[in-house]
Amino acid sequence: MSKKIGDVILDLQNISLRFGGVKALTDISFDVREHEIRAIIGPNGAGKSSMLNVINGVYHPQEGVIIFRGRERKKMEPHHAATQGIARTFQNIALFKGMSVLDNIMTGRITRMKASFVEHALWLGRARREELEHRKKVEEVIDFLEIQHIRRTPVGRLPYGLQKRVELGRALAAEPSMLLLDEPMAGMNVEEKQDMCRFILDVNDQFGTTIVLIEHDMGVVMDISDRVVVLDYGKKIGDGLPDDVKNNPDVITAYLGVSH
């Protein structure tokens, strides 16, 4: 691969997150470099989605520092993350089921629409120009993900694998610099997984998008990620290149159980 991995753009230092007495994350530090594919793995309940939600601004950790592009972040809401170029997908698909694929992906453009509400409502000059521009971008995403045939289909009628792809499309439509994917391949068959892997690699390769992903399928993670963080019970137990992580005894224990 010829892609260049750049400097650290997201640095998480000593993050701890509690829900009342439940410690979801304890003293976790790791970083994400520009243009890399960074995987977060771990058994169920390890705190992977919580970690993603912290990055995304949904949860606010009680302790720790988050530095994004050189600036320390205090309280941040998800829509701030969105305007800073962070987009995400969800573990349970969160699309508008009754809307068409096209309209769903169009919603990904919302942070980039500048025309006012009134202009949009009245379909005035700037709104119209903008809409055409956004539509073109959306069509490029549709072309990229090869979902032309379902452009007009309501999302609720699509099979699961395609819904996942549409959700990725909506995230891509925001032209993010960082993409957070929460189990993009959960519940997919082998062929759908292969397609999804290819799309993730293509996004990373063609647009240089930094990708942070949570995934259960170890094979997939090891194949496509540049570096892997392993969590277990809210603690970090491993961090490094896929091969290093694979041979880490703590990781093996966490995943396969203790040998007797």
Binding site: M1, S2, R135, K136, E139, E140, I142, D143, E146, Q148, H149, R151, R152, D202, D205, Q206
Partner: protein, 655 residues
């Protein structure tokens, strides 16, 4: 210069490149190609296409493509790939389209056989396939790709982006402004214009060399019969390597000058069909069947008023629709009703199907059920059957308007002579015949008889209207003991058009009459039985029900009635049949994996049943071993009742 002038074409229009530049000169602004890209139909005019072809051809020449070279074309129907075909022809080269879904190893054979040095491919997928076999295809020098997606990290010097090739060509063209015109002027009508590989069910595929003259003559003949002109649209979505696509989307488009439309992707064909509303359309029977099924299913969910209206007017259409389309006399009442039906049902239905502008639609590739065929014709869609081979530019017979019958493939096309050999084989001769099989003089000599007729390998006969009826592959055709022809497939197909009959095997070679085994369709017959409150426990039980035998008997007798109408096959009426107690199954070696009956195996395995059929017995006990899906074996036994079917006196030539 006048070499083998095709039917009445002026000399400057004897090759495809000359036709292309002629359209660009005389009607440069008219649309030549459309493609849906980013959700919008983009149009190239004839002038645009000519400019690009000129650039591509010059670019190919700059890379070293020479007269007589073959250019492999691999990909879906993309405008640039069609243009590449023209570009190769401009330089006196030969485009060789390959089936795009073939795996690399299958492509290797053609790459070697046709000594391919240049390939034009659609995208990364096809590039990867070629790279995979490149070390085994030492002649391959250059690969041009259309879609740059995913190609960023490919830096092999022999890979060229098609736009870079065009730029190269434009520079070449500026430096040598007369080069291309001189190349085009050297092209002659009897040059090979395209090489299409036959699928080769026996042995290796063979490259069929067709000349400009052959395809231009075929295109003109078809246009004459169907009244095609420059004002039309065709949806180009079938493989470019298939002779039919080359005839419709390339040859006829260039001769007539109509517009070809390339769908966005293979999955969007149905949407694109609706958006374009082509005037000219081709699809295999299963597409027409699934279109109809989807409409019927949706009608079941419609409100009662709409549903009643729909079925009422379909009844009207069934009664008089085909006759109206054929311009035959129809009573005033029916005519008015049909007019109303067009307004309320047929028009909207055609629109939903994307066929409201259709002037002629074609089907071929498999036998089409007469009901299905008549359905489309009855709602005003001029559906026709096509018959021809790669070796004949898919141009042998055409069904002229007003003379379309579901059973025949039509009358000999203009310029085509048809003869039936002693063994029933269809022989054809005309301007559309292949020049040769590439580098296979032996195969060429074998396929053309001393009088210059091409041997199709199909058995058929000419009916009283002078139309050709295809009945079977010649090698399957046998004779009854009285000498009459016996074509098992022909009869079995007629039986299988009934939804209740899944499979049939007919016997009759060297016998005095025809008898048949029938397999019922478990789903359709099961449904039928449930609606009549006929209880049954399983397949064998259902197949043994007397009511089911009656049902199948009516089907068989209907087939007999149609057979009786034709003197040629009247003797093949089915005298006795039985309904098999088990489904013929590939696991039991009775069918091939592609679900074709292994006739000889079945005959041997069920010899006792055949003896019973011919021995006049009324029942026969049989026990058969079957393999279950999990590998266990079991036995199925039944007492099979043998049913006598009525036959009909053969209709002698109608007075």
């Amino acid at each position: 210069m006048s070499f083998g002038t095709p039917t009445g074409a002026p000399e400057e229009l004897q090759t495809f490149p000359r036709l292309l530049f002629h359209h660009a000169r005389t009607r440069g602004d008219a649309p030549a190609i459309r493609e849906k890209d980013l959700g919008i139909w983009q149009t190239w005019s004839w002038a645009d296409v000519a400019e690009r072809v000129r650039a591509l051809a010059s670019g190919l020449a700059a890379l070293g493509f020479k007269r007589g070279d073959n250019l492999a074309i691999i990909g879906d129907n993309r405008p640039h790939l069609y243009m590449m075909m023209s570009a190769a022809q401009c330089l006196g080269g030969v485009p060789v389209p390959l089936y795009q879904d073939a795996v690399a190893d299958e492509m290797l054979f053609v790459l070697e056989d046709a000594a391919i040095r240049f390939a034009a491919v659609e995208d990364q997928e096809q590039v990867d396939k070629l790279l995979e076999v490149m070390d085994r295809a030492p002649l391959l020098e250059h690969i041009v790709y259309d879609d740059p997606r995913g190609m960023r990290h490919y830096n092999q010097p022999f890979l060229h982006d098609i736009h870079a090739l065009m730029e190269m060509g434009r520079i070449h063209n500026r430096n040598h402004p007369d080069f291309l015109d001189e190349e085009v002027a050297q092209g002659r009508a009897d040059d090979v214009s395209v090489m299409l590989y036959t699928s080769g069910t026996t042995g290796q595929p063979k490259g069929v060399c067709q000349t400009h003259a052959a395809f231009i003559a075929s295109a003109r003949g078809g246009m004459e019969i169907d009244g095609l002109d420059a004002d039309g649209d065709i949806l180009s979505y079938l493989p470019m390597a298939w002779v039919g696509d080359h005839l419709f989307s390339f040859a006829q488009a260039l001769v007539a000058g109509f517009t070809i439309n390339c769908p966005e992707s293979g999955d969007t064909v149905m949407t694109d069909l609706r958006e374009i509303g082509p005037t000219y359309y081709f699809a295999p029977p299963r597409v027409f069947e699934s279109l109809l099924t989807s409409v019927m299913i949706r009608m079941e969910d419609a409100g009662i008023v709409k549903r009643k209206l729909f079925h009422y007017f379909l009844g009207v259409a069934k009664r008089c629709g085909s006759a109206i389309l054929d311009g035959k006399p129809v009573g005033l009442g029916d005519r008015l009703l049909y007019g109303l039906g067009t307004l309320l049902v047929y028009g909207p239905l055609r629109n939903v199907l994307g066929l409201s502008r259709i002037r002629v639609a074609y089907t071929a590739g498999a036998a089409i059920g007469p009901e299905l065929f008549s359905f489309y014709r009855s709602i005003g869609i001029n559906l026709k059957q096509l018959y021809g081979q790669t070796e004949t530019c898919a141009y042998v017979c055409l069904q002229p308007d007003g003379q379309v019958k579901p059973s025949s493939v039509g009358a000999p096309a203009p310029g085509v002579e048809i003869r039936i050999a002693g063994n029933g084989e269809v022989l054809v001769k005309g301007p559309m015949l292949l020049k040769e099989y590439y580098k296979r003089p032996d195969a060429t000599a074998e396929s053309i008889d001393p009088d210059g007729y091409f041997m199709t390998g199909d058995a058929g006969f000419i009916d009283q209207d002078g139309h050709l009826n295809i009945i079977d592959r010649a090698k399957d055709v046998g004779k009854l003991s009285n000498g009459a022809m016996f074509a098992p497939n022909y009869i079995e197909n007629k039986l299988k058009f009934f939804q209740h009959i899944k499979e049939a095997v007919c016997f009759g070679h060297d016998r005095d009459r025809v008898c048949a085994f029938i397999n019922i369709d478990a789903g359709a017959v099961g449904n039928w039985a449930e609606r009549r409150n006929i209880a049954y426990s399983g397949y064998t039980d259902l197949a043994g029900k007397p009511q089911v035998h009656e049902l199948i008997k009516t089907c068989v007798e209907e087939v007999n009635a149609t057979l009786a109408r034709d003197a040629m096959v009247a003797d093949s009426q089915i005298h006795r049949f039985l309904v098999l107690h088990k489904e013929l199954d590939p696991d039991d070696d009775e069918l091939t994996r592609t679900r074709k009956v292994r006739r000889n195996f079945v005959a041997k395995k069920y010899q006792v049943l055949i003896d019973a059929l011919y021995g006049g017995k009324a029942t026969q006990f049989i026990e058969t071993e079957v393999k279950f899906e999990d590998g266990r074996r079991g036995k199925v036994a039944a007492d099979l009742r043998i049913v006598d079917a009525s036959t009909f006196p053969a209709a002698r030539q109608a007075a």
